[in-house]
Subunit: 628 residues, 2 copies
């Protein structure tokens, strides 16, 4: 499978359009202003004529400038960005490029932290220095801008730094390790862009994990960085979540280029570990705030409001990146299912309805590159990965031009109409994704039903001679589905999370006034009803669910009491309103995130549910005699 | 209420007797040997003629020597310790005392860490140095040994160090703070022992929290140490669990001595915060391994095996210490309920059946001082706090001699026989504790039933003229009670923990072979049956409970799936065997702690429980047409 470029896709008036628009028009300028305000761009200027400026920001702050450029480059490539915005973005990128190039040393090295008093520390503490990470983002920014515009200036600068590393480190030279494994992805992208095998070879060296002894790596470093031992010896995800997922995404690229089978075996193990034991239902990852790290198997404590959980959201975007690579590699729709879950929920929650990003510029680059995720080609086939009002102007891999247009209100409903426009009648296969969450998939071509030769969670192949104007209709049922977690997830047992289509829902306090959402229960024999609310949170479908509220707040209940007493707890009927998880956190209360809950406890409305239970005991005691 | 001394109590052949015996005979010698082996005692010797020895152990390792002496002193005071053991212990303490005194500086200061190169750091970083904490344990050890033997040598040495602090720090002198607030308890005990008000005054200064500015304390320090701001401004427990509980125990002592009402108001708030929101059902405290700290309200992730959770067990012993003080202060039995919960479960789990302590010497001193917890006096009354085969030889507060003997198999059953032996017939009140877990309490005197003028969770007053040989009988029913947690505890919802009498139970893998305990469910309409097993784990009562096991391990189930699918999960009937929580962790498997679980998920055996539920949706879809 081969992704199509961002430039080939026009987004219509669909779900992602306003989300992307707000990123382009609000987030990108706001983030650049913040980078200027906090002196992050000045860090480069102080190396090129303004030595009086102080070094500001974190050790890895250079990467934020590069990531912003990458996001802006994707915006430049996009058909949805207005000409005036493009002009502005191009000017900003050119200006930043000038600043960056002026700061770069003749030998290629560039990092604004390891200068002056810290010059002697340069590339000496690779586990913690983030120099590798900053270089990776430098390369990615250069490639994105080159792909968007054909301009190689920034790309060539990144190559100079990469070549400096390759000249000085590696087998027979000084030892290297990625303390934040993003360089692997970047080097393979550089290999693809330049066709120079040395970048692929260096990536093989990085994944070989042979420098443990030379670098005296500690076990805790090897765990935290997800680096430093052979990638193919890994059997589970651990350590820093973003690092583990970036390493896995890069290893997928490496396998795609080399086909070395041990990598695929490891990737399959790690992917199962993630999706069967360590991923939130929203697709976010990293259950421990301490160290922003993966937890143990099934350790998934309640998700925090997005404003408090930036690392988990960045990890969710890494999850999207990895699964897109696995999808492209295999054509297996289960990766699209995970990608969709992470994208529509956790990642989507990271940008507010007004465009205030929680995690700039990480999410901005994902939102801006989103058109490139919708379609893919493979030999003479075309894949539809995600459903979104859009138009594709591209070609099959044999070069024959092909347009496709999708008309859909997805994810608000599951009806999709696709018009196929080959330049002339041609035989090929259109692969329609049947999401794993959909119990059935009604497909028809020109009104004639098709029996899908596929099962849920796979692509439906529609093979025929396509004529211009042929219309595919797809209908995916979207009942509200109360989801349960594996009982081994202690935090979620006895609870449900509402899902409808790809969207996970949540209770948030503002929609449920008068009672704390922590005092609410879901009635299991209930029929949740969706309700369209164009006025709310940018236009959403809410869910109305009949529930129960504890008559007396649970705050006033003992911490522990006999089950029989707890089951007799008086409750009253209430209506619960769920909103899509991605819209949670847009209505702070008194400056605090409003309370929210994804997993709501179940209670049964039937009498048997609350009848006290009888228990026997070893002591054959009688009732107290009540004798005076 | 006034506690009785350890010396006044003889333990008979009851529950705690073998537990204490193993501590005296195995743990104490093993811990002293470990202190020698790891160079912790040598740290003192290097200051008195053996400068060639290296400084070893943690910054606070001196405290371990002092705590060992305190534990050994309680063992010396105990009627259960054999004469030969006493002789050995006395020799060990005297030898350690010689070593300690030889290391103490003429001015009184003594800390084996802050010498030599670190001398200039002495008492400069009170937040982290633990000098205050080591001093506190120094004082406590001296007092315990003095009370056990009348020997003042170690006590006087502790006083010299305390006086050094008082002479140099405080209002108008250098600022002081307790970075690990144990010194408050120690100074009040010193005030009680010496009747010198200056120790009480310095404690008032410590709790006043006025040195924030002079010491430039950070908010995070003030939170973590539970020190550094006025104690009476606290409204919740936070930070390091043991520090927060020690500070609260000391503040209870302070209120007992001064009656300053703001302290009682704060203590009530903190106690409610602990028992309503932050305490495990086993009485352990400190739900975050990171920083050994308190979690947020209702943040109580699954308890770890005791070998992995030493800080939580030490916090449980601090919980016992605080609640004993609150009980003594108020005579309110609810504090005895919490004390009993923490003592029989979490604290008790800290010493293995063979006497291998998880957390020496913290638990050793609690076990050794345990006889002092059973009884208390108040004016002309006598309180029975805990039920245990034992004999009290003491006197009422008017000086009239009184013996009491308890005969009981508590906590294995709830029948207690108490023989009252006043020197001559006398009118006074015997207060019998009616534990909060007991639904009823049948009391009789000389066979004649008494209608208890009390409710559960309080003391039953038995007021009369007592004749020598009068017999009180008490019967507390002990059915097995499935307990539920407040639904706000996300980790415990939909689960039960078994409790019988004061004992909390757990599933441990070795008793439930053939199926992973994480694949087991509790059937709510079941009747748990106790079964006496004298052969198992030192002699226990196990619980046999009918349950269900997932036919296919949950490991092979998806992480998330529709509730209706999860509810249709095939299960088979199994018998579950629960053991007392305190005996968990005695049967490692392949060097690893055996898997265990306190909170077991509930499932309903009735058909309605597993019938798939019907859910409607917004999409009015029909079944797939299945047209070719």
């Amino acid at each position: 499978m081969h992704p199509v470029p961002v430039q080939a896709v026009h987004l219509g008036d669909g779900f992602w359009t306003p989300r992307r628009k707000v990123v382009t028009e609000r987030s990108l300028p706001a983030t650049l202003a913040a980078l200027e305000e906090h002196g992050i761009v000045d860090n480069f200027r102080r190396l090129s004529g303004k030595p009086e400026l102080p070094r500001k920001g974190s050790i890895s702050s250079d990467a934020d400038v590069y990531k912003w450029i990458e996001a802006a480059a994707w915006a430049l490539a996009s058909n949805e960005t207005s000409d005036s915005d493009k002009q502005k973005l191009r000017g900003d990128i050119d200006s930043l490029t000038n600043t960056i190039l002026a700061a770069q040393e003749p030998g290629g090295y560039l990092n604004t932290y390891f200068v002056g008093d810290r010059l002697h520390l340069r590339l000496t503490d690779l586990v913690h220095s983030n120099e590798d990470y900053c270089l990776a983002e430098f390369i990615e920014a250069g490639i994105a801008y080159y792909r968007a515009t054909g301009n190689r200036r920034l790309l060539d600068a990144g190559i100079r730094f990469a070549d400096y590393i390759l000249a000085n480190f590696g087998p027979g030279r000084k030892p290297f390790i990625t303390g934040h494994p993003a360089l692997e992805m970047a080097l393979i992208e550089l290999y693809r862009t330049t066709a120079q095998a040395k970048y692929l070879d260096f990536t093989r060296y990085l994944y070989s994990g042979v420098e443990r002894d030379r670098l005296k790596l500690k076990d805790s470093d090897i765990r935290f960085t997800f680096s430093g031992r052979p990638f193919t010896s890994r059997t589970e995800l651990e350590g820093h979540a973003v690092r583990a997922l970036y390493a896995s995404a890069g290893a997928t690229d490496f396998f795609t280029e080399t086909g070395e089978p041990a990598y695929k075996r490891t990737l399959d193990l790690l992917w199962t570990d993630l999706t069967a034991r360590k991923m939130y239902i929203t697709g976010s990852v990293g259950s421990r705030s301490s160290g922003e790290s993966m937890g143990e198997d099934y350790e998934l404590p309640p998700e925090q409001p997005s404003s408090e959980s930036c690392p988990a959201i960045v990890a969710a975007s890494a999850n999207v990146m990895w699964n897109f690579r696995m999808l492209t590699l295999t054509g297996d729709s289960r990766y699209a299912d995970v990608l969709e879950r992470a994208l529509y929920n956790a990642v989507n929650s990271g940008i507010s309805i007004n465009g205030n990003p929680s995690c700039p510029p990480n999410l901005e680059r994902l939102f801006e590159s989103l058109p490139g995720y919708l379609y893919a080609t493979s030999r003479d086939d075309i894949y539809i990965n995600l459903y979104q009002e859009s138009k594709l102007n591209w070609h099959l891999e044999d070069g024959s031009p092909l347009s496709l247009s999708q008309s859909t209100a997805y994810p608000w409903n599951g009806d999709v109409k696709i018009t196929v426009q080959p330049a002339k009648p041609a035989a090929f296969t259109v692969y329609l994704r049947w999401p794993g969450w959909a119990a059935s998939a009604d497909a028809s071509v020109n009104g004639k039903p098709i029996s899908p030769a596929a099962r849920r969670g796979s692509f439906i192949p529609l093979t025929r001679t396509w004529n211009p104007g042929d219309v595919i209709s797809l209908s995916l049922p979207m009942p509200v589905t109360p989801m349960s977690a594996n009982p081994r997830v202690a935090d979620d047992y006895g609870r449900v999370a509402m899902q409808r289509g790809p969207l996970v829902y949540a209770l948030e306090q503002p929609d449920n006034p008068g009672v704390s959402i922590s005092d609410l229960f879901f009635r299991s024999a209930t029929v949740p009803a969706p309700e369209v609310r164009r006025d709310l949170l940018g236009g959403i479908t809410v869910l109305k669910v009949s529930g129960l509220a504890a008559e007396k707040s649970l705050v006033d209940e003992p911490l522990y009491q006999p089950l029989s007493v707890a089951q007799a707890r008086p409750k009253r009927n209430v209506s619960l309103t769920f909103i899509p998880y991605y819209t949670v956190g847009n209505r702070d209360q008194a400056g605090q995130p409003a309370p929210m809950e994804v997993w709501v406890p179940i209670t049964r409305p039937d009498a048997s549910d609350i009848a006290p239970l009888a228990f026997g005991g070893i002591v054959n005691h009688k009732a107290p005699p009540r004798v005076q």
